[in-house]
């Protein structure tokens, strides 16, 4: 066994802690972490394969396009990684390393274009962003005025109003539908679920067209509720948000253990009471996620707005009458214009749209945060107070 040989061990008796002399605690190690050598090998493989493919493609043959070069390089890199790992650690470790490399590079392939996209918007949009963008509208701004002229306050206000109204319509509907799908035993659950699935695949311009056809054409007069205005846009947006919210909440409700429902019912609760007091509070973070996803879906939608809120160059804070601007429409209308200043203004709008989405997400997380921790403090205070009263 070990080097410690104090007394012959009687295998039929037990050993207690005092039997053996105390030894120093062995030094701490961290296993299962990538060693520097492994990183170097990966880097070497990447470099090696690049040089090999470059040699073949640029020197020995007449060359190839950059896409083909990239693909061949990636395949060669994977082959090299596998072969070196197989040489060092055997085939099992090699396939493990291969899988890890593929997963890692797939993640990078996803993150890099995304970061590029964000970076591009920031680089194009940030230079013309002045504080005035949040204060002024486009009234009196001519196409050849510099990009910093005027602002997008009317678009920000319109976006916020339309998305809030859409959320006000679709969140209660979505929650109720999700509860219907998950907490009842109705025969209509299946058809409803199929309908919701079909709705989530609905092209958003159809949602706009629907509102246009059944409300604006049928009942619309300029300046009235069913004319072109922000409220019509928010109805179209809520059609696109509803399936997102419903499906997200439904998935979360399905994850709530049945034991919680049973114990609520065993306490003498009605089903409605159980859903309201136990199931929905437990699903709180999931509901927040659904709100975030719903906002994300709606705030960037342009198509449903084209013939519902129509767009406007100056401030209209009333979503219930007359056309209204919103950030996606602002971007859409400006980027189309022929002058460079307008295009820059459109990119600034896109940048602000990103900022607005980010702050809405932060707000939703803040509102939907788990409150049990903060209640702890107030309850502590309460119990401290009662213990003072009754010593």
């Amino acid at each position: 066994m070990t080097a410690v040989e104090d007394a012959p061990v009687d295998l039929r008796s037990t050993t207690v802690a005092g039997d053996r002399p105390e030894r120093a605690r062995p030094s701490r190690r961290r296993v299962a972490v990538k060693t520097p050598t492994e990183r170097l090998v990966t880097l070497g493989c990447a470099l090696n394969s690049f040089l090999l493919v470059w040699l073949v493609a640029a020197r020995l043959t007449s060359g190839m396009g950059w896409l083909a070069f990239g693909l061949v390089w990636y395949a060669t890199f994977l082959a090299f990684t596998y072969l070196t790992a197989r040489e060092q650690d055997g085939p099992v470790a090699a396939s493990d390393r291969l899988a890890a490399t593929i997963i890692g590079s797939a993640t990078a392939a996803l993150v890099v274009p995304f970061a590029w996209l964000i970076g591009y918007i920031v680089v194009r949009g940030a230079p013309a962003l002045r504080f005035g963008f949040f204060l002024h509208d486009q009234a009196g701004v001519r196409p050849d005025d510099p990009a910093t002229a005027g602002g997008g306050a009317h678009a920000i206000v319109g976006s916020l109003e339309q998305v809030s109204l859409a959320l006000l319509v679709s969140l209660p509907l979505g929650l109720l539908t999700a509860v219907f799908l998950n907490e009842t035993r109705s025969r209509w659950r299946r058809p409803v679920r199929i309908l919701i699935d079909a709705m989530s695949g609905l092209p958003s311009i159809i949602a706009g067209l629907f509102i246009y056809a059944i409300l604006i054409i049928a009942f619309g007069h300029e300046g009235e509720l069913f004319g072109y205005d922000g409220f019509m846009a928010s109805l179209a947006l809520s059609i696109t948000m509803l399936p997102t919210i419903t499906r997200t909440v439904e998935v979360v409700l399905r994850l709530i253990p049945g034991g919680l429902r049973e114990s609520a019912l065993a306490l003498g609760s009605s089903r409605a009471r159980m859903v309201w007091s136990v199931v929905l509070p437990t699903a709180r973070t999931g509901v927040t996620t659904s709100v975030v996803l719903g906002i994300a879906r709606a705030v960037g939608e342009t198509a449903p707005l084209l013939f519902t809120s129509f767009g406007l160059n100056y401030m209209n804070a009333n979503p219930f009458s007359f056309p209204q601007e919103s950030l996606p429409l602002f971007v859409f209308r400006n980027v189309q214009k022929p002058s460079q200043a307008s295009i820059d203004r459109g990119f600034t709008g896109a940048f602000v749209l990103l900022l607005v989405v980010l702050s809405l997400f932060a707000l939703a997380r803040l509102v939907g945060r788990d409150r049990t921790g903060s209640r702890r403090r107030s309850a502590r205070r309460r119990s401290a107070a009662t213990s003072k009263e009754t010593p």
Binding site: A266, L267, G268, T282, R284, R375, S378, R380, S383, T386
Partner: protein, 289 residues
């Protein structure tokens, strides 16, 4: 049914450290206080077309602990869920026979399941405090859910937790999440939650099977104490536990492909020392199951 009429245990005095019933927090809309006798008469249960429980008759006396023992799949839990109308929550479940609480059939026409469940509380195998609620709110959850009001919620929280043997451990952190407690504490929190609505009967479905020996001992002490105040019915796989906590025992058995039924029932000491059916003796002495 009750073949031997000896008073088991014999110590019906309430536990010393509990407040007397007169100083308890007053509940409005709660069941009438006190333990009630629970009788099953020819109770049968089906899942779909599958008969799982056949003509079970058992009297669970007030202020006594009745243990249901038997191997897995013999219908103990189904029988327990039949006793507070949890059985009907399974969509395909049907039943026959009667269950009488204080002489009144809980399945009688016009009796609402919610009212029955208020009077017959239940503790499940897996501790399941409501995760979105603090310890205090968990204890009071039953009141909120069953629409019972009280004038002194803080007193009720203290009394319920004390009856479940948890008050001393959590009194300084009532605002913490219930999920932050250990498994054994969570289970006692669930017992406190069930006791807070003032039930006449408490059903326990293997309450200790997910717990360590120390927590199990605490729960058993709790059962011994509340057993003087309410009728307790406990399903257990642990023979020593049945012997330690129960006054009476019922042994369930289901032959291969047959529905479960009661083989033998009676005072616990007789069931474990001189049962009349050889299968009971085999089971309680650990020869099968």
């Amino acid at each position: 049914m009750t073949t031997v009429d000896t008073a088991p245990g014999g110590d019906a005095a309430p536990a010393a450290d509990l407040p007397p019933a007169s100083t308890r927090a007053v509940l409005h809309g709660a069941p009438p206080p006190g333990a009630e006798v629970l009788e099953a008469i020819d109770a049968c249960a089906w899942f779909g077309d599958n008969l799982v429980l056949d003509r079970v008759s058992l009297t669970m006396e007030a202020r006594e602990v009745t243990a249901l023992i038997g191997p897995s799949g013999c219908g103990k839990s189904t029988f327990l869920r039949l006793l507070n109308r949890m059985h009907e929550l399974v969509p395909s479940a049907t039943l026959a026979g009667e269950v009488r609480l204080g002489g009144v059939d809980i399945y009688a026409r016009g009796t609402r399941a919610q009212e029955v469940r208020k009077r017959i509380g239940m503790v499940f195998q897996k501790p399941n405090p409501f995760p979105a609620m603090s310890i205090r709110d968990n204890v009071l959850a039953g009141l909120k859910l069953a629409r019972i009001r009280t004038d002194a919620p803080d007193d009720l929280v203290e009394q319920s937790l004390a009856r479940a043997g948890l008050w001393r451990e959590v009194k300084d952190r009532l605002g913490d999440a219930g999920g932050a407690l250990s498994g054994g504490q969570q289970q006692r929190l669930c017992i406190a939650r069930a006791l807070a609505v003032g039930p006449n009967v408490l059903l326990m479905d293997e309450p200790c099977s997910a717990l360590d020996p120390t927590s199990t001992r605490r729960i058993e002490e709790t059962i011994a104490e509340i057993g003087h105040e309410v009728t307790v019915v406990i399903v257990t796989h642990n023979m020593q536990q049945a012997q330690r906590v129960s006054d009476r025992c019922a042994f369930f058995l289901a032959a291969e492909g047959e529905p479960g039924h009661i083989v033998e029932q009676g005072p616990t000491d007789v069931m474990f020392s001189t049962p009349r059916d050889p299968r009971t003796l085999d089971y309680v002495s650990g020869r099968f199951g």
